[in-house]
């Protein structure tokens, strides 16, 4: 039997506010345990939450950017459960009336088609603290620095059909929240993570299978691995005659497998009810419009512009707009090279990206800035150097932090475009290879490549390839 995978994601994006969602404590990562928890975060008797308006503005920004409805009236609710890293004994979240509803996100599939993933809702909530089980023998440590950090939980429809689709959706949201500057996207620090709801069903069946929720996935690689493992596990159980139990599971990156955390029966009854300490969040239309006016050009809009104006493929446009910084870099390069957008795209996605990856740095830290790369590409365009030489020049520029012209000057890598000089070399090559010349002239066309190679060899690759082609054809014809 063939199986269809069904995936929905709940993404938790930590909002980049300076202070917590309901208290004035700072949100910066990495402070000494409990140094960033104030009385409100510690849930001292008598303290009250006050909503951080910046978090609201960021949620609205996200809602507008994914084409969603921004609710003019949303409600905070209490999700009640006991845990030591949840100081109040309840988490303040949004339940029945979230701030953002019914958005969409388009993802590009491998076959080049576009798939629209539904965003059911996005709601504001506070993060819990951390329980530290390892460092204390027989005890549990509690660090409440993270308690009260603002989160935007972005819930998708069960629209994804493979781990790959889930990853591209997650990447797309990751790109968007960073474009909007509402989340730093740092997955290692947990600023961007997700829970994946995974089920399988026989191909063609409409009814969903029983799902399992995999908690706290904080890398794109883990998401793919965890989902693939989970799908295989579920199929194996069903094909073996078993049934899937609805449960929450954890992914163990070391073993590459998921394991059960708790079943549906063991799940808490959270006893949600509207938080009487907080008023409904009422947003008037003018506020929403004022937020809309602060939206940057969004990744999809930018990609569409690249495709339309520069003739880039959907794939290339997608790669170049994957981060706001990459797009900015690319646009700085092409500003100096109008008409050469495709060439610039190839270089930014090729040599530059490879070099960035190799050094594991961001485009903003690139050792060749946009002006220098444009300078290098200009020498290809004006035929001073060949593409092949340009790659060598690029490497030197990267290593030594020099302009293209300085490198070309120093290494004599300038292209030979003088027709007389090239003809002289061709004459030498023809004289040195009489047999091949005779064969070529008697019909062995394939030997043309041999002559090109010989000419390039003699000129150490510096001869302009187009000229070599033209001149060789003439000369060989006799």
């Amino acid at each position: 039997m063939s199986w269809e995978t069904v995936i929905g994601l709940e993404i938790h994006a930590q909002l980049a506010t300076k202070t917590k969602i309901f208290s004035s404590a700072p949100t910066a990562y990495g402070a000494a345990p409990n140094a960033q928890a104030n009385l409100v975060d510690l849930a001292y008797p008598g303290v009250l939450p006050v909503l951080n308006q910046e978090a609201v503005r960021m949620a609205v920004k996200f809602g507008l950017a994914c084409g969603a409805t921004v609710s003019q009236r949303s409600i905070f609710a209490r999700k009640n459960y006991f845990y030591p890293d949840l100081p109040k004994g309840y988490q303040i979240s949004q339940y029945e009336k979230p701030i953002v509803e019914k958005g969409t996100m388009d993802i590009l599939l491998d076959d080049g088609s576009v798939k629209r993933v539904g965003i059911t809702r996005a709601h504001l909530e506070e993060d819990a603290g951390k329980s530290l089980h390892e460092e204390f023998e027989g005890l549990t440590g509690i660090d409440l620095n993270r308690a009260g950090t603002p989160l935007l939980e972005i819930v998708s429809e069960p629209d994804m059909r493979s781990a790959k689709e889930a990853v591209s959706y997650m990447k797309k949201i990751h790109t968007l929240v960073r474009y909007l500057e509402i989340c730093d996207g740092n997955m290692q620090e947990g600023s961007f993570r997700c829970d994946a709801n995974v089920s399988v069903r026989p191909a063609g069946q409409e009814k969903f299978g029983t799902r399992c929720e995999i908690k706290n996935l904080n890398s794109f690689r883990y998401i793919e691995k965890a989902i693939n493992y989970e799908v295989a596990r579920q199929i194996e159980i069903i094909e073996g005659g078993g049934k899937i139990r609805q449960e929450t599971r954890l992914f163990d990156p070391d073993k590459g497998e998921t394991r059960a955390l708790r079943s549906k029966e063991e799940a808490n009854d959270y006893r949600y009810f509207p938080d009487p300490d907080l008023l409904p969040v009422v947003l008037d239309a003018s506020f929403i419009e004022s937020v809309r006016s602060t939206l940057p050009e969004l990744p999809d809009e930018k990609a569409a512009r690249y495709m339309q104006k520069f003739g880039l493929s959907a794939y290339d446009a997608g790669v170049l707009t994957a981060s706001r910084e990459m797009g900015d870099y690319y646009e700085s390069v092409i500003a100096k090279l109008p008409g050469n957008e495709k060439l610039a795209a190839n270089w930014v996605m090729g040599e530059l990206s490879a070099a960035l990856n190799k050094d594991a740095i961001e485009v903003t830290q690139s050792r060749i800035d946009a002006t220098r790369l444009a300078g290098l590409l200009a020498r290809i365009v004006d035929a001073t150097i060949s593409g092949k030489i340009a790659k060598e020049v690029f490497e030197k520029m990267w290593a030594e932090g020099l302009d293209a012209d300085a490198v070309i000057e120093a290494t004599g890598g300038k292209q030979i475009t003088d027709a007389g000089a090239i003809e002289k070399v061709i004459d030498e090559v023809m004289a040195a290879n009489p047999k091949q010349l005779a064969d070529y002239r008697s019909g062995k066309d394939k030997l043309f490549g041999f002559f090109v190679g010989q000419v390039m060899k003699v000129t150490a690759g510096k001869a302009n390839p187009a000229q070599v082609n033209d001149l060789l054809k003439k000369k060989l014809a006799g």
Binding site: Y44, P45, F82, P87, Y90, R271, P276, L279
Partner: protein, 487 residues
């Protein structure tokens, strides 16, 4: 010479300003009375004499320098529900028997900025859950009018302390009648302002959508003084309302001619002792003689107040009290074996029976499958009751009726019957559900025990309520009576 404890807050303030006595003298006078008289009453949980005398000395300097405010140097007592920096705050519970807050509640801070001296913390029903002050971990409070009777609750310690002249005024909180009912049972003036008028920050939450701080004083004039210093918008309480605070003292003397008083039909029909009803009617006659017009008003949904309240309040309390888990502060059981044991024993030992009863009720009404039938329905009824009040206020300026169905009852009489106990709040709960300001003022005695008249106004009509109460107190002397043993 008139004894200092016979003077009202307004008179004491004038005396302090004129330097007829110092704040230290005044403070010492009341601390002495507390030391002498409190043991029989059990009105105080913590007395902070040393801090009080130090603050009084500082207040005297200000008074001497002539840069004092209206309340500078005035000693009062705080209900032990308000967090006080450096002084233990128990909320009447074993759970917080070791808890010293590292901050002042906004009410405490505002009064302290106004120069008020805190003598200590008053006894109360545990977490303000009770109508008789018998649920306190620190033992029941006795009514100064008869030591075998309850003083009412939950602000029973505040009421007993002021009634016995251990302090000239007290703060209190009112979630379902917790200021007004004890005021009625001890012959005091008690006011619960509009929900949102006084900040809840630092006031340990019982039912967040109903809790409101107020005062217990001898007179409406005193209430006007004290409330003015407590009220106001607080950015740390999202439910506090940004409406300017009126000068309550300025409008106390406004004549009542032509004022329309609504008589709550439902209050006189249900469970009201006939002799008690007569005292209320007598009070209404005085208003009539002052030119007020009495109009019968019916609030058809008001009889649903008690069941509505006993869904909403426990629901909120079940969640509010989750933070008392033995992890960060408060009572922690000895040698917990694991997390569940820590939770179960810390909470099991820390909370008393009434608190547990309400946490369980609240947990039940919020549970999956019961939420719609209880919590949601209660919220709908709450809306209907609020609408009833709004309709009534379209035709009248204030509403009046009894505060409590009976005068003070015997200690121990109702402890084993929670439902009968809950019915004590039958007249007071409506104002909490609708967020309205309401008062209780003394209007007579029944068998030597005080009876209260309740006055309810529209939102933010505190000035009108205090005016209506003050004019009545000009005509009567019930509020001047002091229990014999405490004169």
């Amino acid at each position: 010479m008139t004894e200092l404890h016979h003077l009202t807050l307004a008179q004491l303030a004038a005396g302090l300003q004129k330097r007829q006595f110092s704040s230290v003298e005044l403070t010492r006078h009341f601390l002495d009375r507390i030391e002498r008289l409190n043991p029989a009453l059990n009105a105080m949980i913590t007395v902070s004499g040393e801090q009080a005398l130090a603050a009084a000395a500082a207040a005297d300097k200000k008074l001497g320098a002539g840069n004092a405010g209206a309340l500078t140097g005035m000693p009062i007592v705080h209900k032990d529900i308000f967090c006080t920096d450096g002084v233990r705050t128990t909320c009447g519970s074993r759970m917080l028997s070791n808890f010293v807050a590292p901050y002042d509640a906004t009410v405490v801070a505002k009064l302290s900025q106004a120069g008020v001296i805190a003598l200590g913390k008053t006894n109360m029903d545990e977490f303000a859950m009770g109508s008789s002050n018998e649920t306190s971990f620190y033992g029941p409070v006795k009514n100064p009018w008869d030591l075998t009777k309850v003083p009412g609750g939950s602000s029973g310690g505040s009421a007993a302390a002021v009634a016995a002249r251990l302090a000239p005024a007290a703060t209190g909180t009112d979630t379902g009648g917790s200021i007004r009912q004890p005021a009625a049972l001890t012959s005091l003036t008690g006011i619960k302002p509009t929900y949102g008028r006084v900040s809840r920050y630092g006031m340990i939450a019982f039912a967040s959508s109903l809790d409101q701080a107020g005062t217990l004083t001898y007179t409406a004039q005193d209430a006007a003084l004290l409330l003015h210093a407590m009220a106001g918008f607080d950015p740390r309480d999202s439910t506090s309302v940004d409406v300017p605070v009126a000068d309550y003292s300025a409008t106390l003397e406004q004549p009542l001619a032509g004022i329309k008083i609504g008589l709550l039909k439902e209050f006189f029909e249900r469970g009201l002792d006939e002799a008690n009803a007569k005292l209320v009617r007598d009070a209404l006659k005085i208003y009539e003689s002052l030119g007020a017009k009495l109009i019968d008003v019916s609030l058809p949904n008001l009889p649903l107040s008690v069941p509505t309240y006993y869904v909403v309040a426990p629901a909120e309390c079940s969640s509010n009290l989750s933070r008392f888990d033995g992890v960060r502060f408060g009572h922690r059981c000895e040698n917990p074996v694991d997390l569940m044991d820590l939770y179960k024993r810390s909470r099991g030992e820390g909370f008393g029976a009434e608190v547990k009863r309400r946490i369980m009720t609240g947990t039940y009404v919020l549970s999956a499958g019961y939420y719609d039938a209880y919590y949601l329905r209660a919220q709908k009824v709450r809306r209907l009751i609020t609408d009833d009040f709004a309709r009534a206020f379209a035709g009248v300026d204030v509403l009046m009726g009894p505060t409590s169905p009976t005068p003070a009852f015997d200690i121990g009489a109702k402890v084993d019957d929670p439902v009968t106990m809950y019915l004590n709040d039958i007249y007071t709960i409506g104002a909490n559900l609708a967020g309205l300001p309401a008062m209780s003022i003394p209007c007579g005695f029944l068998g030597g025990l005080p009876v209260g008249l309740q006055i309810i106004g529209p939102h933010f009509a505190e000035a009108k309520l205090l005016n209506v109460a003050h004019v009545f107190q000009r005509e009567t002397d019930w509020h001047e009576r002091i229990p014999e043993a405490y004169r």
